[in-house]
Amino acid sequence: MQRHFPVIRSDAEDAIWQAGPEVAFVAPVIGWQGFVTRPQPSFAPVIGDFVAALSARLQQEGRENPDLAAFGFWLRPRQIEVQRKRMAGRAPLGMVFHLVPSNVPTVAFYSWIMALLMGNGSVVRLSSRIDPVQEAMLTILNELFSLPEWQEIASRTRFIRYDHDERVTAWLSARCRLRIIWGGDETIGRVRAIPLSPRAQEIVFPDRRSMAMLDSQWLANLDAAAWRQLVAALQQDFTRFNQQACASPTTICWLGTPDSVLRRRLLEAVFAPFADSPALMMERLINCQQNAALDGQMQQETFAGVTLLTPTASLRLEHIGGGTVAEFVADTLDELLLQPWDMQTCVWVGPDKMRLEYALQLSPCCRIDRVASPGQALAFEWLWDGIDMLVACSRQLTRIE
């Protein structure tokens, strides 16, 4: 009887990767040489240690790069430990191929970390647009990847760039075990036409929008300190990344007609970061005219930093962002939830967030994936568009009771 397994498998695979497609390697700055597709155990100690080191390093960025500092804080060891316990009994899939958007620079790293925690190696295709936050993050990663203790992580990670070349996408798609496509819809359509290995899974994040619900009565009764706090939080939600993130609200629904002075005061305060940008003023005019071209009955009102549009023919404006916002008023929450909303996030500005969360369970026609408190719209969470990222990046082993 044969007593030995044949060896070589991994060598053969390494050879295939060394002849991999020509791309630019941005982190680590090496070629395909040494790239390891064999996974590690989910939440392996070295992964936990690396993420802890990254978390600490990112939090040092502080004021200079608040987005990275926030990301670092979110990755703090205590949080990771909670997830490790939650993911007990799960195992990695294999190499994950990520196609990430350029509108929110940190998504690339979020997507990569989700795959990494579950033990998977990753190839992350970054967009060609150079973003300062993304560049800062890549510099930090390259710092860490140069240290001997993180070679097991570095060898399983390739952040790359390449021009729109379907052959490269096809090559990587044929060799991954999970493909994650971050929208928009057009990109998803194009990439989906490129075959995956029969053994691979796929997750897609199409274009989504987000909204805020504001309780007019509750707002009217806020004291000055609570008001200031709320405005700062909503500024973060509405104006970070020029309102380009899918989770930034671009629709506002008032529960109860707001007092006109209060409405204006709140909107001008929240959109103050846009008020001194001529470029965004032009974007709003263009969005507004494009929307108006489709709907001559559309109501519009302009305040400093924000243009409010109420379409008459649809709940959805075709052109949004940069302070172009759809606005509606409803008398009650029930009335509001009868509408066929399709929202990734709803920022709840009112007394009792649970009330909305309960109501959503009873409103199957209305898809709102997530309810966030003011200031939390753009926070990373373990669920994205209702998908449990860690679960999606892993498989369940039989439970040993």
């Binding site: 196609l99 990430v100 958007p101 350029s102 509108n103 967009s127 060609s128 647009r129 729109h164 496509i181 971050w182 929208g183 928009g184 819809d185 057009e186 990109t187 194009r190 990439v191 994040f205 199409p206 274009d207 989504r208 020029n242 309102q243 380009q244 899918c246 008020a275 001194d276 940008s277 001529p278 470029a279 965004l280 003023m281 032009m282 974007e283 005019l285 263009i286 005219q289 494009q290 108006a292 071209a293 489709l294 709907d295 001559g296 009955q297 559309m298 109501q299 519009q300 400093a304 962002g321 940069g322």
Partner: protein, 351 residues
């Protein structure tokens, strides 16, 4: 419209001119509202109608022509579609019918005759000949050259297909017309890059002492080379022998508005076009001396709703009826382009 063509191009006071022009512009607003439902919707949503002053005129953002095709004539009346030659991003598409194209040529000739006289002069175009011959792929550059070509005769193309100076052709033109009145036309950057620089490298000077150059197309590329308007003029004088060099301002999105620089270095609004300045932060109208976004208006666009456009160019209105050069109407200065914003949704993984 005929009254506009009969009046002197730079000879009406702002008061007289704006009365004539407004009547025509209101007519155009109505025409486009009837022919272009999207424009009619915008008028209604913005509460725009007939205007009693320039400030009340409806205006579209000029960039809208990059985002969609706007036309107020049925498809079968489309005569040609101009596209911008912009080096970055999507080109604008401007739909012309026969009448609008004819009007465009007519006003261009009328405006430029003010500077070169009515005689048709031998003309040297700093262009490649293929551009004009290939009429299907109309770029604004080609259209500009073509519109202007009505002004001249013996059209000679100074560049070859690879955009290099066609030396034998240039030499023959100079032999024939040295010291005589001639007309030159080119885009500012191309005149610099494809004619003035090669001449300098070869240590050559052309004897076009009685020539007039019209050039346009912005200074952005030349700013990188630290070339400004006086430096450009100086080099034209040194290397081409020219003493009359006219910069002009215009955009493909609005046919008919050609603003030529006078001897004082001021851009002048001709009878068929005019200019407003708006605050970049509020888009409210600004008066003389206040820098802002340029809103251009033109009596010519009949086939698409582009008679009043808010551009992303920055400038300042310098005065009305009182330029020392003697031309009446408004005059202004263009200072550059407003920086664009990064506003994009998720739809750009592949950029």
């Amino acid at each position: 419209m005929n009254r506009l063509f009969d009046a002197p191009v730079f000879g009406l006071s702002q008061h007289e001119k704006s009365g004539l022009l407004l009547a025509r512009l209101n007519e155009l607003t109505q025409r486009h509202a009837q022919g272009c439902p999207a424009f009619a919707n915008i008028l209604s949503a913005f509460g725009w109608g007939q205007a009693s002053t320039y400030q009340e005129l409806p205006y579209l953002a000029a960039r809208l022509f990059k985002l969609a095709q706007w036309q107020s004539v049925p498809q079968e009346e489309v005569f040609k579609v101009l596209t911008s030659s912009g080096t970055t991003g999507t080109p604008s598409r401007i739909v012309l019918d026969r009448d609008t194209a004819a009007l465009q040529s007519k006003v261009l000739v009328k405006i430029l005759q003010e500077f070169v006289g009515k005689q048709r002069l031998p003309m040297l175009l700093v262009e490649q000949p293929a551009l004009i011959q290939n009429r299907s792929g109309f770029s604004a550059r080609g259209a500009g050259a073509l519109g202007l070509s009505f002004l001249g005769r013996d059209h000679t193309y100074a560049l070859d297909e690879q955009m290099r100076p066609n030396w034998p052709v240039i030499e023959a033109f100079c032999d024939k017309y040295a010291g005589q009145p001639v007309l030159l036309f080119g885009f500012t950057f191309m005149v610099w890059q494809c004619l003035l620089e090669p001449l300098r490298e070869r240590g050559l000077q052309l004897p076009l002492t009685q020539g007039t150059l019209f050039h346009s197309g912005g200074w952005k590329k030349l700013q990188h080379l630290a070339v400004d308007n006086p430096a450009f003029k100086q080099r034209c004088h040194e290397q081409l022998g020219l003493s009359r060099v006219y910069n002009f301002y215009g955009m493909v999105e609005q046919v008919g508005s050609v603003f030529v620089e006078c001897e004082q270095g001021h851009l002048h609004a001709p009878l068929f076009a005019d200019l407003l300045v708006r605050d970049p932060l509020t888009h409210r109208p600004l008066g003389i001396g206040k820098p802002g976004l340029l809103q251009v208006i033109s009596a010519i666009p009949q086939s698409y709703p582009g008679h009043s456009l808010l551009s992303e160019d920055l400038g300042v209105l310098l005065g009305e009826d009182d330029c020392p050069c003697g031309r009446l109407g408004r005059y202004f200065h263009v200072s550059g382009r407003q920086q664009g914003a990064e506003v994009r949704g998720c739809s750009d993984t592949f950029q």
